[in-house]
């Protein structure tokens, strides 16, 4: 359960953003969470709701977009989506793959009241 640690980092970013933009409050937070990010979306939501009290985001809702693992095969150029963490190409068997998405843990956007 390292999600609370990640949410602590999120609030560092949120407070800086709110300060820079002179926001009164943050009303919405949108995250992108890859299946290989190591974080569980439901636990991030719970941690967010616990942490937000007494912060500038105390009334904020959170939306989490789950991002599947997407890879390109550098040998046969196939575009792959893996749901079973097999990192070899299902078309040609190559292990020469480039991860395009699925490892991210990103604060995509926020909605502020100014």
């Amino acid at each position: 359960m390292h999600e609370l640690s990640l949410i602590t980092n999120l609030f560092d970013i949120l407070e800086k953003q709110a300060n820079d933009k002179n926001a009164k409050k943050i009303v919405h937070v949108k995250l992108q969470v890859g299946v290989l990010s190591g974080a569980v979306p439901e636990l991030l939501e719970s941690a967010f709701d616990i942490y937000k009290k007494d912060t500038i985001a105390r009334e904020a809702a959170i939306t989490i977009e789950k991002v599947p693992l997407k890879m390109d095969c550098k040998d046969c150029k196939a575009e792959l989506i893996s749901n079973d963490y097999i990192l070899t190409c299902s078309q040609c068997g190559s292990s020469n793959l480039k991860t395009i998405a699925g490892t991210e843990l990103i604060l995509e956007k926020i909605e502020l009241e100014i």
Partner: protein
């Protein structure tokens, strides 16, 4: 009152990654190879470090950072081998973060060859945090069972090597080394796999040679 949407696109692990990159850079300049050891509790990380110290000590200087929720026990075991060791007690946290390593940085001697970091025993959370290591090694002991790579994918996907420990027990356990190796390599084809026993010493030399080779490569890359 106006509402405004702001595109941020900032990594939640960004601050950890930045500190880790700085640690790695400083260690590389000093020619110190850092190794992050990950496993579930009881897979044999501390005993492996005790055995490695016996092989490496005549020719190399090593030190160990121990991560545990409570107690100095692991650091005391390493110090008993004549190896400098620092204990990080996380007080409940399930993983080490780069800033915890950064705080110890001023105490780490500049003339080291190897800095081993024994992470908190946990196959899940430590996998998300770069500590500034050059090599990440995941240990899987034979009593844990040979079905673990797919169950804990991130630890195996983000590691450079897989160390199958407690090989002395394999003859009495339903643990298939080939099955585990095949499954782990499907998930991470660049994994180097070692099979060893800290109890009888099998495979320790091969692993220490791997670390020595990586040390030489690091130093030639930064010469």
């Amino acid at each position: 009152m106006t509402k405004k949407e702001i595109l941020v696109l900032e990594d939640l692990l960004g601050s950890n990654k930045k500190i880790a990159a700085d640690i790695r850079n400083q260690l590389s300049k000093k020619g110190i190879l850092a190794v992050n050891l990950l496993s579930s509790p009881g897979a044999g990380k501390t005993m492996l470090l005790e055995k490695l110290s016996e092989v490496l000590k005549p020719d190399y200087k090593m030190a160990v950072i121990e991560g545990d929720i409570e107690t100095e026990r692991d650091a005391e075991r390493i110090r008993a081998k004549g190896i400098p060791a620092w204990q990080i007690m996380t007080g409940g946290a399930c993983h080490l973060e780069a800033k915890m390593i950064g705080r110890l940085f001023p105490d780490i001697p500049a003339d080291l060859d190897f800095l081993f970091i024994e992470n908190v025993g946990n196959l899940v959370c430590p996998a998300s945090f770069d500590l500034g290591e050059h090599l990440r090694c995941v240990l899987l002991s034979t009593p844990e069972g040979d079905d673990k790579p797919k169950k804990y994918p991130k630890a195996f996907i983000t590691s450079d090597s897989l160390i199958i420990s407690k090989s002395d027990l394999v003859s009495i356990l339903p643990f298939d080394i080939e099955r585990v190796s095949k499954e782990a390599l499907e998930m991470n084809p660049r994994l180097e796999i070692f099979v060893l026993s800290s109890l009888n010493g099998d495979g320790i030399k091969e692993l220490s040679d791997y670390f020595i080779q990586a040390l030489h490569k690091l130093r030639s890359d930064h010469a």
